[in-house]
């Protein structure tokens, strides 16, 4: 096949490559089966590791006897919590980078207590999976089973089982004397809430309940760890950040980070769920003890039972508005399940729920509540989707009561440049209004609906992050370029890096080889998360390319024996301002590099601070079957401000993917526990994610309001798309049936119940 780029129809004004849609550089490997994911490496002498997991939701570990397992044929190493250092609190950071070493080390391997069904408490490495599983069965654990709690309200009750005897609620005054399951209380308190509601002509208030949902990446967590005779570990695994894996693995083993080298596998989806470690430190310790490489691949059941879903929640919100549709006040409380350790994204939920709007009077409380289920992990715009399900449903109710079109209500209250956001900062140039207008002007918004059909709209906000990234650019002998970064490519970011490098260097995008380098070959880089890669890692690439161009100009000046200021870089060529010298290409300059200073290469690193916030507005058309309660998505359209779409196809892909996950969250997905706290649906048959026949095409409109904090105007695009769907679907169901759905998922059973309760 000839791989061709088409830098014609939609390249951006002023750009040659940015905005075009070349075939991604890693694509060929991924359509031929050659790409190596986490489970695709086998080494000579490699052992298979397996993890013993708690059958109880909450229990004290009285004893673990591994002697029988250790004595079994083929078993080469056994570890328990005793094989890992006990770490103490001292976490820093926030959002998707947040972790507390105390909790992380106990989550990876339980110590005195198991805190959820599926909690790891021992592991073995053996010569085959069969032997490893037999050894797990031979480990004897004596448990003192304790009462467990899953519901946030029950977990906050005075007589609730306490998960952590040392957990004292943060953010309340006075500091409590007794431990509880409330890890922290977060508050946004602005303006005068009583005055705000006094000004309101209409007040709506409602309670909402959502269940935990899993990121649902198709590739289970997988690792091969090989600790050599020098004590150094080489770890091959898929993750959203191999530097994160290095630092966490080293910390959990009591090592310096430099003792661990992490080689990034291709990653088979993450959505935030692979921004922490589970089996990586375990495989490394097993390998160290056995003196052989150890591979651990989770089963799907383990992924559901032991890795981060996102929080279920209980949310109460109250919104006031004037007759002409001006929002005067919002008040409410959100309680999110953190899982077994603190750190739900509830504060982010509070910040995001009303972020698209200019509202003066705000009082929102967020409670982070530990319960006996897996510790939650980041999931695409963590915390925002459930909060926006609540807030955007209420706005629909306000619009309905006032008789105002729901998009018009949003436009009347839309935040814009200069407005102080609900969560604090003053917005720079933003594109929220433009997303609302894009939906209003889209043909779907005026398509006629039939019987039992309805239309709903909703908007959403996500911050996007910047952070630390590194890049190195080499000009090869033939004038092509290699672009090395430390950002795992989870959805086409190699192509974005190559496009930006092509734009800067002025060479063909296919003459760029974008590479995701290991932890010893490129500078530190934060995780692929927070919609940060194209923005922050892209800035590092741009900076490195600009250094290379500066160098290339200097070398041409040297060859021509002129001042460097007389050399311009145009379309991948050095030109003399006089025009009387033959231009030199990267190939010419690379060929002569030995005589002008040696190889041509440059690195750059950034801690990007200028992330641009993202907004999405979506419209959903549904049909509700009154006999079964089943909801069919008829049409769906999403408009999102990308700032600048570097590779529009992958921007659309992020928008569509977020919507599909949101529709799953809206209609089907939930963790179901039995009375003992055991997850009843830890597989794709019963944890029902959308399949192709569940969905229509998902139309996209990319809005481009450039982010002033990026050279090309890039905003993150990965996350905000999942924020509006739940409310968009709920509002569409209301339009079709007159029913306000306040619990997720809106499964046929729940919809049918609501129809019945409504006398239907």
């Amino acid at each position: 096949m000839t791989v061709t780029a088409t830098p014609t129809t939609d390249s951006q004004p002023g750009y040659k490559w940015v905005g075009t849609r070349p075939v991604r550089h890693d694509g060929l490997d991924k359509v031929t089966g050659r790409a190596r994911y986490g489970a695709d490496l086998n080494l000579p002498g490699m052992l298979i590791g397996a993890v013993l997991r708690s059958p109880h939701a909450h229990a004290r570990i009285l004893s673990i006897d591994t002697s029988a397992a250790q004595a079994m044929e083929g078993v080469k190493a056994v570890v328990t919590g005793a094989d890992f250092p006990m770490l103490e609190s001292g976490g820093e950071g926030s959002g998707e980078e947040y972790y507390d070493p105390r909790d992380l080390c106990r989550n990876v391997m339980a110590r005195d207590k198991v805190l959820y069904e599926g909690h790891a408490l021992a592991a073995v490495a053996a010569t085959s999976r069969r032997e490893a599983l037999a050894a797990l069965a031979a480990i004897e654990v004596d448990y003192d089973v304790l009462p467990h709690v899953l519901d946030v309200s029950e977990a906050m009750a005075p007589d609730a089982p306490i998960l952590h005897d040392d957990l004292i609620t943060e953010g309340v005054d006075p500091i409590p004397d007794e431990p509880s399951n409330v890890a922290s209380r977060y508050v946004i308190d602005r303006g005068d809430i009583e005055k705000g509601f006094a000004e309101a002509d209409v007040i709506v208030e409602r309670e909402f309940v959502t269940q935990p949902v899993h990121q649902g990446y198709i590739e289970p967590h997988a690792v091969v760890a090989d600790v050599g005779e020098d004590g150094k570990a080489t770890v091959f695994c898929s993750s959203q950040g191999h530097f994160m894996v290095r630092s966490h693995t080293a910390e959990l083993l009591g090592w310096e980070p430099s003792r661990v080298k992490v080689i990034p596998a291709e990653i088979g989806g993450g959505f935030g769920g692979k921004t922490t470690v589970y089996v990586e430190p375990v495989a490394a310790r097993l390998s160290q003890k056995a003196g052989r490489p150890v591979k651990i691949v989770m089963t799907r059941d383990e992924v559901f039972r032991a890795t981060g879903p996102t929080s279920g929640s209980k949310i109460r919100l109250k919104v006031g508005a004037t007759r002409d549709g001006r929002l005067t006040a919002v008040e409410g409380s959100m309680a999110y399940q953190a899982g077994a350790f603190k750190g739900s994204p509830v504060s982010l939920g509070c910040m995001c729920a009303f972020a698209p709007y200019a509202i003066e009077n705000v009082l929102l409380e967020g409670l982070d509540v530990v319960v006996n289920m897996p510790k939650v992990a980041a999931y695409r715009a963590p915390g925002a989707p459930m909060a926006s399900f609540a807030s955007e449903t209420l706005l629909d109710e306000v619009a309905e009561q006032l008789g105002i079109d729901p998009l018009e209500l949003r436009l009347r209250n839309a935040a814009e440049e200069g407005v102080r956001s609900v969560y604090g900062p003053v917005y720079k140039r933003i594109g929220f209004k433009e997303t609302v207008e894009a939906v209003r002007d889209h043909p779907q918004y005026s398509t006629e609906l039939g019987p039992n059909q309805g239309r709903g709209v909703a908007s959403g906000f996500w911050f996007n992050f910047g952070g630390s990234s590194s890049a190195t650019v080499h000009i090869n002998e033939d004038g092509s370029a290699s672009v090395l970064t430390g950002s795992p490519d989870i959805g086409g970011s190699r192509a974005s890096m190559a496009l930006m490098a092509a734009e800067e260097l002025g060479i063909d995008v296919y003459d760029i080889t974008p590479i995701v380098s290991d932890t010893e070959s490129v500078g530190y880089t934060e995780v692929t998360g927070g919609s940060r890669v194209t923005h922050a890692t892209g800035m590092a690439v741009i900076d490195a390319c600009r250094k290379v161009v500066t160098d290339l100009r200097a070398r041409a000046a040297k060859v021509w024996d002129v001042d460097v200021e007389e050399v311009e870089w145009v379309d991948g060529r050095a030109q003399h301002v006089s025009g009387d010298r033959a231009p030199m290409t990267t190939r010419d300059l690379a060929a002569g590099a030995a005589g002008t200073g040696g190889p041509i290469t440059a690195s750059a690193a950034v801690n990007a601070r200028g992330a641009g916030v993202a907004f999405s507005t979506q419209v959903c058309d549904v049909e509700v079957d009154p006999e079964t309660g089943a909801v069919t998505i008829l049409r769906y359209m999403t408009a999102q401000d990308a700032g600048r779409a570097i590779h529009p196809s992958y921007v659309e892909g992020q928008m569509q993917g977020g919507v599909a996950q949101g529709i799953g969250w809206a209609l089907n997905e939930e963790y179901i526990f039995d009375t003992g706290g055991t997850m009843e649906n830890p597989g794709f048959l019963d944890y029902r994610m959308p399949v192709a026949s569940d969905l229509p095409m998902i139309d996209t409109v990319i809005v481009e309001v450039p982010n002033p904090g990026h050279p090309y105007g890039v905003r993150g695009v990965g996350e905000v798309g999942i924020v509006p769907p739940m409310a968009a679907v709920a509002n569409a169901i209301h339009d079709a049936t007159g029913l306000r759905m306040s619990e997720l998922p809106m499964s046929p059973v729940k919809v049918l119940e609501a129809i019945g309760a409504n006398g239907g």
Partner: protein, 162 residues
């Protein structure tokens, strides 16, 4: 444990391998034959990442015991491209950005080929149902469905008029 000797055809070539009697075809293809393009997403037949065409029919290789492959013909993603280049599905998946993380892609390509082998001109709905056994968590299926339809068009144009 004694092993079972299996003789079969994989991607057009004669092949033989040893397997344990309760080993899945998926595990054998990956760990014995070395075809790592066959992916494991669930091992319970729910995600389609391990899709292969077994004796002309689409199958989850995790639901087949390896000894059942005796005498069978097996097609995997590794056999789709030939000396003349990529299969049209592979081309349209690349051009249509039908993959993000790519872990489900081999399964979708195999499922798409199984569809087009028996129905060269499917409707959108037929495509959606033909790949309903394959989970993709990244794309929302839009670009996958379009790419399969585009491949059908491309193959139809290339085929001699009947």
């Amino acid at each position: 444990m004694s092993r079972t000797h299996v003789t079969c055809t994989i991607n057009g070539d004669p092949a033989e391998f040893l397997c344990e009697e309760d080993q899945t075809l998926l595990d054998t293809l990956r760990d014995v034959v070395g075809l790592m393009g066959v992916k494991e997403g669930c091992a319970t037949g729910d995600c389609g990442a391990c899709s292969v065409i077994l004796n002309g029919r689409l199958n989850c290789s995790c639901l087949v015991f390896a000894p059942e492959a005796e005498g069978a013909t097996i097609e995997t993603v590794e056999g789709m491209a030939g000396p003349d280049g990529l299969h049209p599905l592979q081309e349209t998946f690349l051009e249509g950005a039908a993959l993000q993380c790519g872990i489900c892609t081999p399964g979708f390509l195999v499922a798409g080929k199984a569809l087009l082998d028996r129905n060269p001109d499917p409707t959108e709905e037929e495509v959606r149902y033909a790949v309903a056994g394959n989970l993709c968590r990244c794309t929302g299926y839009d670009k996958i469905v379009r790419s399969i339809l585009d491949a059908a068009d491309r193959m139809g144009e290339a085929a001699p008029a009947s």
